[in-house]
Symmetry: C2
Subunit: 909 residues, 2 copies
């Protein structure tokens, strides 16, 4: 035990030992209480016990630790006594304190708080006579006793459904007295309650309720420390990635009372509007009330400003007469205090340079600030506030950019559910937030049905166990997609994000029965045609149709994006397979296509037949025949995409998936295709069987296809180059980058690259035209990272396919990972889902190795990333740190990526 460690930080009366920079040590609340003192904001005096003390408490055992801080805590109490001119336990002029937790990160409601501490049988009488308000005194006492019993004696019910022993006593008392409200209790009733509570405490815990205020204090401090390790706090930390070793601080502070009559009040206020971001001071208050009354909803809170009050009245249908008499604003009812509060909020915002969320209490005409913190806000407000503050000169461009949370930008691009609708909605289950947005529709269980129903003008949600490339069309017409299996990078998730379509994947508690055409959620059985709603931003699945609100892009947003692009060195491209997606992404500011997957084009009607013919052909001649027919179709696809991206680079990946993905799996479909192709169904069955793979992820795909069937590569290159030539003849500039997938050895890359270059040379010669184009490769096989120097001798660019690279570096199948990944995250065996956020220690090192090796043999090699990580903030920061040239992500993630690229440049330089 180090005695020299400072464990208690005092504050009060304009003085503080701590300040706002000491959040780690004093917690957010404690640091801000200190800071407010320093800048002259009135705060009830008190002291903060450090988070370090909390950690030592768990490490070294409570006795040692508490003994060790004994002196400092006593000094703290004396400090408060002196400022408030009261005495802790003094019966004439008692000091009451609050004991509150306060962690470095906000954990609202997760830990425990005790108010009115210091009351005992004698002090309560002193308080009654001092305040001339014996009812308030006894009410405070019984409330304190209940809180103490719950928090310190462990008499809090485990959940809301369980019985609270104190509430039982209160209810019984009300029954006996035939009264309904707490306020109907007489002083005598309240006294009787305290006696009943003490008995109950002794009965349940075997310990007397302590009369010694110091004993109360020590037990409360212990209890707050203990609450750091309570179950809900642990769960909250797990969800929010807050490390357990941070610990919580304990704030002991003089009580102030907003319920001391009509010159007292309590309230919360914001320096700007947290919903819209408008620069309008606003908030709610209640006269003669305590903090909990404002949130409890038993009384209607009043607005702080007059304009806010009038606006509220209009929305609520309250007449001006009724408003001004029953619900006056603080500006009207307490004009001087209002002005003091107004100045305080101005001071706080100017000081913190960000929108503040404040709690205050007025005790008998004296204003006290109890808390100030960064105010939570909507995505819209986030952008507006940052840009306004920039204009106001409060912050500079870099600061404005750093203020933006990229994840919240989604709100600006996607529909969201109406908040009221959500409150009433019945939750069916929860999956992964695979693609953001909100969607409602009627359940369909197949892609065909999705098409049929939407043709009839209906809105549908496509519900599948998992999706496959055959479902693409159905997915594109559905409002949203729900799967019961698969992770954040399952087929459904990847395709939906590409489409900017709402998707919840891997909702494991739901069960799809294709035969019965039902979706089961516990006892609830839904049928085809029933309405459900999906929130792709948090994974919730609701019964019925919920009201949604549509997004709109503000001018502030556009300015912000322009500013960000100026800061960023990392460019942002998009993953897009269609002219429509390409155009969307370009509008969102994509500087090119980083990944155009040619296989998605293969699934459209009219093409899949040719693709299957190609696959089912007995020899090269048969394959070439089918490929010849596919050529003009692919060429026109590329013309469309190249046109949409005129002047910007377009990276086209050659055919990647295993061929069996294109063949039908159900016998009915196999019969159909046999008929169409004029072969016996047995041939189809045999071929499907021959092509099937135990681990398709590691099978006959990528450049392995092109190297076994070079004619496929030839056709695709021909389509790309001919498209570019045709456009060039029309005066449209193109920059094709032909990407060879799944390279593992330099030899296999070279064999493909030779086909690319020879075919292109031949066509350019034939058409007498010169085109600029690049040939390069995906780096997605661990081996490719190791031999990157060899590959870079001929490859002009690398694009990291971090989905597959993560799969192979970890040995995780993204389609099967749902079986253990949740457990791994839960048990902290992984810090995050590596398919969402790049695993810096493993996969990231592979990338670094490839970057280093690649630049060894080609210093100007172009380096990008086209895996799903390209849209993830932390991963983008990592890409910046290793010096990539660009990231590529789905169209709707482009704005966020641009922003993070700018933030990374600002933070990392």
């Amino acid at each position: 035990m180090k005695n020299h460690v400072k464990r208690v930080y005092l504050f009060g009366n304009g003085f503080a030992e701590g300040d706002a920079s000491m959040k780690e040590l004093l917690g957010g609340k404690g640091a801000n209480l200190a800071e407010m003192n320093r800048i002259g904001v009135p705060v009830p005096p008190g002291f903060t016990i450090t988070t370090e003390t909390c950690n030592d408490y768990f490490k070294m055992g409570r006795e040692n630790l508490l003994a060790n801080i004994n002196d400092a805590v006593q000094t703290g109490i004396k400090h408060i006594e002196k400022i408030t001119n009261t005495g802790f336990g003094n019966t004439l002029n008692p000091l009451l304190v609050s004991v509150r937790s306060g962690a470095p990160a906000s954990m609202p409601g997760m830990m425990d708080t005790i108010l009115n501490l210091g009351l005992n049988d004698e002090v309560v009488e002193g308080m009654a006579s001092k305040t001339a308000n014996p009812r308030a005194a006894w009410d405070s006492y019984r409330r304190f006793m209940q809180m103490y019993g719950e928090v310190v004696m462990g008499m809090k019910p485990a959940s809301n459904q369980d019985i609270n022993p104190f509430e039982v006593i209160i209810e019984q008392k009300k029954k006996d007295l035939h009264i309904e409200l707490d306020t109907d209790f007489s002083i005598a009733d309240l006294k009787e309650l305290t006696i009943a509570f003490r008995k109950k405490i002794f009965k349940d815990s075997g310990q007397e309720f302590p009369q010694d205020p110091y004993k109360q204090l020590w037990n409360a401090i212990e209890a707050v420390f203990d609450s750091w390790m309570n179950e809900r706090a642990i769960i909250y930390r797990n969800i929010n990635h807050i490390p357990a070793h941070w610990g919580t601080a304990v704030n002991v502070q003089a009580m102030v009372f907003g319920n001391m009559g009509n010159t007292s009040a309590t309230g919360v206020a914001f320096t700007r509007d947290p919903a819209t971001g408008e620069n309008l001071f606003n908030g709610e208050y209640l006269v003669n009330a305590q903090g909990e009354d404002v949130v409890a909803g038993t009384r209607t809170p009043q607005q702080i400003t007059l304009s806010g009050s009038k606006h509220w009245a209009m929305l609520s249908g309250v007449s001006e007469e009724e408003r001004s008499s029953n619900y006056p604003s603080m500006e009207e009812s307490m004009p001087e205090l209002y002005h003091e509060l107004f100045e305080v909020q101005q001071k706080l915002e100017a000081h913190y340079k960000d929108m503040q969320d404040m709690e205050f209490t007025v005790q008998e005409g004296k204003l006290w600030l109890l808390q100030t913190r960064r105010g939570k806000r909507t995505g819209e407000a986030m952008v507006k506030i940052a840009m306004d503050m920039l204009q106001e000169g409060l912050i500079n461009q870099q600061e404005a950019i750093l203020r933006i949370d990229a994840k919240k930008l989604d709100e600006l691009l996607h529909s969201v559910f109406d908040e009221n609708a959500i409150k009433k909605a019945e939750v069916l289950g929860k999956g992964l937030p695979a693609s953001p947005g909100a969607a409602s529709g009627m359940i369909v269980f197949s892609a065909e049905e999705a098409e049929q129903m939407t043709d009839q003008g209906k809105e549908v949600i496509l519900v599948r166990i998992e999706t496959s490339p055959e479902d693409i069309k159905g997915m594109s017409v559905a409002e949203g997609i729900l799967t019961t299996r698969g992770g954040m990078t399952s087929h459904a998730a990847v395709v939906a994000r590409g489409m900017g379509k709402c998707c919840v994947s891997g909702a494991g508690n739901l069960r799809v029965d294709y035969k019965k055409q039902t979706l089961k959620a516990g006892d609830i059985i839904l049928h085809r045609g029933d309405w459900i709603s999906l929130n792709g931003s948090n994974g919730q699945v609701y019964k019925d149709k919920l009201k949604t609100t549509k997004p709109k892009l503000s001018g502030a947003f556009k300015k912000l994006m322009q500013m960000a692009d100026k800061q960023a060195t990392l460019q942002v491209r998009t993953n897009a397979d269609t002219p429509h997606d390409a155009a969307t992404a370009r509008e969102f500011g994509a500087m090119g296509i980083g990944l155009c997957r040619t296989e998605h084009m293969f699934f459209e009607a009219g093409r899949i037949k040719l693709v299957r013919e190609m696959i089912l052909a007995e020899d090269e001649k048969g394959r070439r025949n089918a490929l010849d027919q596919l050529l003009p179709i692919q060429r026109s696809d590329f013309e469309g995409i190249f046109k949409a991206m005129q002047g910007l680079p377009v990276t086209v990946r050659l055919l990647d998936p295993p061929l069996h993905e294109f063949l039908p799996k159900e016998i009915e479909q196999q019969r159909d295709i046999a008929k169409t192709l004029g072969v016996p169904v047995e041939t189809i069955i045999q071929k499907v069987e021959d092509l099937s793979e135990l681990n398709p992820m590691l099978g006959h795909r990528g450049c392995r296809l092109g190297n076994t069937y070079p004619e496929i590569t030839e056709m695709q290159v021909r389509a790309i180059i001919e498209a570019a030539i045709n456009l060039k003849e029309q005066g449209v500039d193109t920059l094709p980058e032909i990407m060879i997938p799944l390279t593992g050895t330099a030899a296999e890359y070279n064999m493909q690259a030779d086909i690319v270059k020879e075919t292109a040379q031949m066509l350019m010669k034939e058409r007498n035209i010169t085109l600029k184009f690049k040939t390069g490769t995906m780096i997605e096989i661990p081996r490719a990272c190791i031999v990157a120097a060899e590959i870079a001798k001929t490859a002009e660019f690398f694009s990291f396919g971090t989905n597959d690279l993560t799969q192979m570096t970890f040995g995780y199948s993204r389609d099967d990972v749902a079986k253990f990944l949740p457990v791994y995250l839960d048990k902290h065996l992984l810090p995050a889902d590596p398919f969402q956020t790049i695993d810096v220690d493993g996969v990231g090192q592979m990338l670094k190795m490839a970057v280093k090796n690649g630049r060894l043999s080609r210093p100007d090699i172009k380096l990008g990333i086209c895996g799903e990580h390209g849209g993830d903030p932390k991963s983008i920061e990592f890409c910046h740190s290793i010096g990539l040239n660009y990231v590529s992500c789905s169209p709707y993630r482009v704005p966020g990526a641009r922003l993070v690229a700018a933030q990374a440049a600002i933070r990392q330089g």
Copy 2:
């Protein structure tokens, strides 16, 4: 063109410009011809054109190159003329030469040879009168003309089935003359043949047969160079991994004739017996014959030594009288020449210090050696010769060890087919040589049937499309295993090698029809119960039952192994799952078990039910209940294995495969298990469905199982430790090494290692006994190599699972790789199957990284390899080079591995 490069090396008459060390430049034949001259062995004079010249010939164009060597070749011819006192093209005293290819590596019969070059219409007459043997002269001329037409004019038929235009003429002539044998042709007939041949050559090629000997010579040299690039040579090089850039040398040498009457002869001889290795000079010869007559089989060759001749007579049932008159040995018929030959062979063996295979010709009483080379030999002879020569002081221990080809050791351990049986056998197809040995049996298509039939005393071959763990029992009772899908590391291959059982895998041209119970090979349809034979050493599948011969281990073999162990620093362990395998491996010299797979134990009757109960349990309690019943069974398994390996370390891998592997896939079996377990079949179907995975290789397996179901790990550790404690109480020493599979992060390793250590501590305390044991991990995930330093902080050993590491580093599923790997090997996109021989540039670098990182945090960490590569010579050499402590392989590969470990230590130091 560099003129200063020496392109032609002369030899003859005891003088030579080259020597035996110049094989790369002069080819094997040329280097040895030079060397023989240097040591005084009589060799017809000649010269060698270098392999470099061959390469330049292809690089720079023939005209340039040939012009460039013109002078040197003329000098060479003059050199021969001088020694032989003849003239090239001289009609009175002509020089005839042979032009032969000779590559650095032996490529028997792949390239072209021309004999008797220098003959023309005039020279033939001169030769006739000089030799007084006009028939021989004209016969030589027509033979030369045919060879020249075939080799230089491209008139050689493409295959044996095609028509040879020269043979057509000969056959027609025989028909016209009503004769049957070539020897029946008169001199006039032979003259007429040469005229007919000349006409045919002109008709087919448009060019006259050249009369100028130099023109003949240049064309022949060109043709030999060209033959380096003929199709069969290319295929042979591909199969034998001979690089194309080696090129071939050309040897031009004075002709000598063994067919000049009864003082002439020709033959082949070995310095020792190539079949048994016995130190007995032996060989065959024919009087008045040319080299081709010895191999053609038209005359019965005679033995060279008297003892050999008598032995031959005994075996052939020839009386001594008949033998000595009709088939006398050379020792009897040409005693002086015999003694000269005997001395030459002694000289050659003493010089080369290895058994030699020699060709010789006697021309009119003068002995000429035409070739000497290292003699091919059986595995048995290889060992005996090396050990004998060591004892004779010809070579030292290191040299003796380096003489041994580890792959040939297999012959000593496994049955082989009788050579005569193979010649007559009908080949059904070819697969991969998955596990060596020879086996015959009746076809069965299921493991159950294999058990039933063997119970009836029948020998069976288990024929499956692929095998799964459920087939283990059936595999163990079958004589051999044949699969039509899967590679060298498929389930069938790995398990069969472990059992030392013959296996051919991935025989893609065969088709199994389980419904019809047939095996189709082209038009041949075999049924259940039909006999087939497998050669697991080369992948051949034969119809019917073939005769096999059984192996026996010689004393020489045992001595060799002891010697090897003294040289090796790398230890050899075995992969074994049963006491029987463990005992076998120990007999073969294994120094411990490097991999004991616990899951194989799970499949035995009586256990699989409990395993399924465990998997199908709804909760931890249910799982624990089943595990409690499995515990005593596993414990007794471990007791058996530990006992067999008493005193040696045993690495036990905790449960690795995905749980669905243990559940039945067929509905009938699912019904059975439902009945046994007393649950509805739907429950089983649902669970199988729930557990199924798209990429099981990358799924819920390895330590991911132990971390989601810690109770499984607990049970297995308990079984291991309790077994060790029980044995220790009986005085049996054990060294358990508990291995956690599929580690990818330090956190997941630590969670498992904690369970291991805590369980072990608890048991040791309970039983009041101290055990030595180690806890470590498989390194088989690429990520583990990267973070190896972190893992090694707690892991006491690493065992490289290079099968999985290869799968993930390359992104190749070993079960699906057959779809593209053959093409990749064919197109030289890969130098070798990376599942057989470790990929040094990729996977090897991963290993190096892990070794380096692991030793960083634990310098004395124990490092081994337990993948299939542990038995592959090249891979073992690599393991030695990176400083591993041991390799582990299947029992039958242990001797070979011990040998290679010694060789690596000798070569690399």
